[in-house]
Amino acid sequence: MVQSVAGVQGASVVSSLREGIVAAYRWMLLARVLDEKFASLYRAGKIHGGVYLGRGQEALSAAVGMSLRPGDVFAPLIRDGAGRLAFGETLVEAARTYLGSALGPMRGRDGNVHRGRPRDGYLPMLSHLGAMISVVNGMLLARRFKGVPQGVGAACIGEGATSTGAFHEALNQAAVERLPLVLVVADNQYAYSTHSSRQFACRSLVDRAVGYGVTGATLDGTDVAECLAVVGKAVRNARAGGGPQLVVARLLRLCGHGEHDDAGYINPALKQSELGRDCLAVAEERLRVDGWATDAELEAWHGESVGRVEAAVNSVQREPTPDPFQETWCALATPRLKDGFPAEPSAARAGTVAENPPVAAVSAVPAP
């Protein structure tokens, strides 16, 4: 796992930079290929509900996932496929949730981007925007109480989510408690169809940092090296006791809000601008130009990604879907406290609750 890009001297700087970018590129590529697979499954009518892609945001997302360590906390958002993989999510797990496999971490109860393994520090998002940040705070606070290593908590949101009260309460709470929170805002110019000029009136969202008493940083989300450097530094700052870090990335969503959306509202001028560059293409170009990867290598990585994604999706497609008759229909962890409702079949009322299937431990794994 690549942790620091800066701070090493001479030739090792270059080689560490190269390693970081190569690793990031491969997570980005894998995420892109996985996203494209989900999109094609969606078009084929094989997915229930929506599909949300991270196209154009992979560099930022990968940088977040790569900057974290096992024991850290990660609360990704809908466009964080790359970061999830880099943090240790498997392709199978992602596919299971999208396809509603009974074997997935959410067991068909929740789906698509709402997935995670909370006990491993990998939080499944609530749909309500901004709501995950204070949950990360609570995990970090708990570790302080317990006197165990606190780690770093990273929460990702879009610029639209900064308009929620939840964002404000949570960032302020983190500042008051001086928690090692890294709050990463992907300002991709739009919240669904709404341009950011209807979302906030400050110059940049990083201008909010001072008002919370936290450290702020901005970065160009199309440039993977900058993503790695700035996010990496923020994570190191937080880890070193520097308190909450607000990182604001400039980029453009290169897809619809979801796959149902053709994003016809996106200003063409933005697409032509620097912001509209595809971070994956930029990274690939850089690898080529700097001679850090040959065409053959690039092709091989792509082929490998496609192969892994196909294999994962194929195997998950053969897995069982949830069975309503096996389902406990008990929302409580304490089955004896389940309320009995007349119209339910009596079997369900007596309700023995099956244990959840064991989930594998998450860890930040090396680049694929």
């Binding site: 509603g100 068909g108 109860r109 409702f341």
Partner: protein
């Protein structure tokens, strides 16, 4: 010509904007985009400056609607999904709901909640919150089941001097069609006999009315005449029409897509038991969704909510009691 439930909602808003300069629409993506479900399609273009994109700030959305209402406007707030109204909950129930009683000044706001389950929507894009808002004093809660009601009740929601929670069912958006928009309507607060019958009463509202009608059709083939009452508004609740139906049939099943504790089915049964006890030939029955979050996977989802099949079973059981 044929018009969907969703188009009726759009047309009602177009007409409200056309007829009443006090009306404006505020919500996420409602402007030139036309809303997540296209319920405001072209309205920003037709009514410049009156259909406005909101930041993702449900609390401020509702709070500012209250302010605009104080100044005599008639705001329509679109929540992107009913589920997200929980973030603006305080302004809705404590501020809007209590405003007229506290101050004597009406608070005419309409809050549109795209409600109910659709396949693959999961725990946070599927909720039915009519029973939540009906708990609080000062709110009118509408749950239209037909294209005609979607149209006429939304117009009335805007006209009424009180805050109205307008629960429009997402499943009906595209599935339900009518020949034309209505020119007249039952008064708000009156339930409707959606289908007459003499053997058993099913009280339902919103999407469940159609499941109930399907059951009525199926059972008609077996000689059982099911009467279906469509509540239309759940607050106020038209106890009289429900009790009159139970007086005819002697048997009551109340169906809702919401969770089983409390809510509309409890209220309906409590009222009938209290006020129409002697009319009942059998214990009144209820059917709700299960007491878990709404599941994502269709396998689970179709077992979670009442369906024509489970309603039919419940009716058969009830007829045996």
């Amino acid at each position: 010509m044929s018009i969907t439930y969703l188009e009726a909602i759009r047309e009602a808003q177009a007409r409200a904007l056309r007829d009443d300069p006090r009306v404006f629409i505020y919500g996420q993506d409602v402007g030139s985009f036309g809303g997540a479900f296209k319920a405001t399609k072209n309205l920003a273009q037709e009514f410049p400056g009156r259909v406005i994109d909101a930041p993702i700030s449900e609390d401020a959305m509702v709070g500012s609607a209250i302010g605009a209402a104080i100044e005599g406007m008639r705001p329509i707030i679109e929540m992107q999904f009913a589920d997200f109204s929980t973030v603006g909950f305080n302004q809705i129930v404590n501020h809007a709901g209590a405003f007229h009683w506290r101050t004597g000044v009406p608070c005419p706001i309409t809050i549109r909640l795209p409600s109910g389950g659709t396949t693959g929507s999961g725990p946070f894009h599927s909720q039915c919150l009519e029973g939540l808002y009906a708990l609080y004093p000062g709110l009118v809660v509408m749950t239209p089941a037909t294209v005609e009601d979607a149209y006429s009740m939304l117009l009335e929601a805007v006209a009424i001097d009180d805050p109205v929670i307008f629960c429009e069912h997402k499943y009906l958006y595209y599935h339900l069609k009518a020949e034309a928009l209505p020119t007249e309507a039952l008064p708000v607060g009156k339930a409707r006999i959606a289908r007459a019958g003499r053997d058993v009463t099913i009280v339902a509202y919103s999407a469940m009315v159609h499941e109930a009608i399907a059951v009525a059709e199926e059972l008609a083939g077996e000689g059982t005449e099911v009467e279906v009452v469509d509540l239309r508004t759940v607050k106020p609740l038209d106890t009289d029409t429900v009790i009159a139906s139970v007086a005819r049939t002697g048997r009551l099943l109340c169906v809702s897509e919401a969770w089983p504790w409390g809510g509309v089915t409890a209220e309906v049964i409590a009222r009938v038991a209290t006020e129409g006890f002697g009319l009942l030939d059998a214990p009144p029955q209820r059917l709700n969704a299960k007491d878990t979050p709404v599941p994502f996977h269709p396998n689970l989802w179709t077992s979670h909510r009442p369906t024509a099949r489970s309603i039919c079973e419940a009716v058969r059981r009830l007829l045996q009691l």
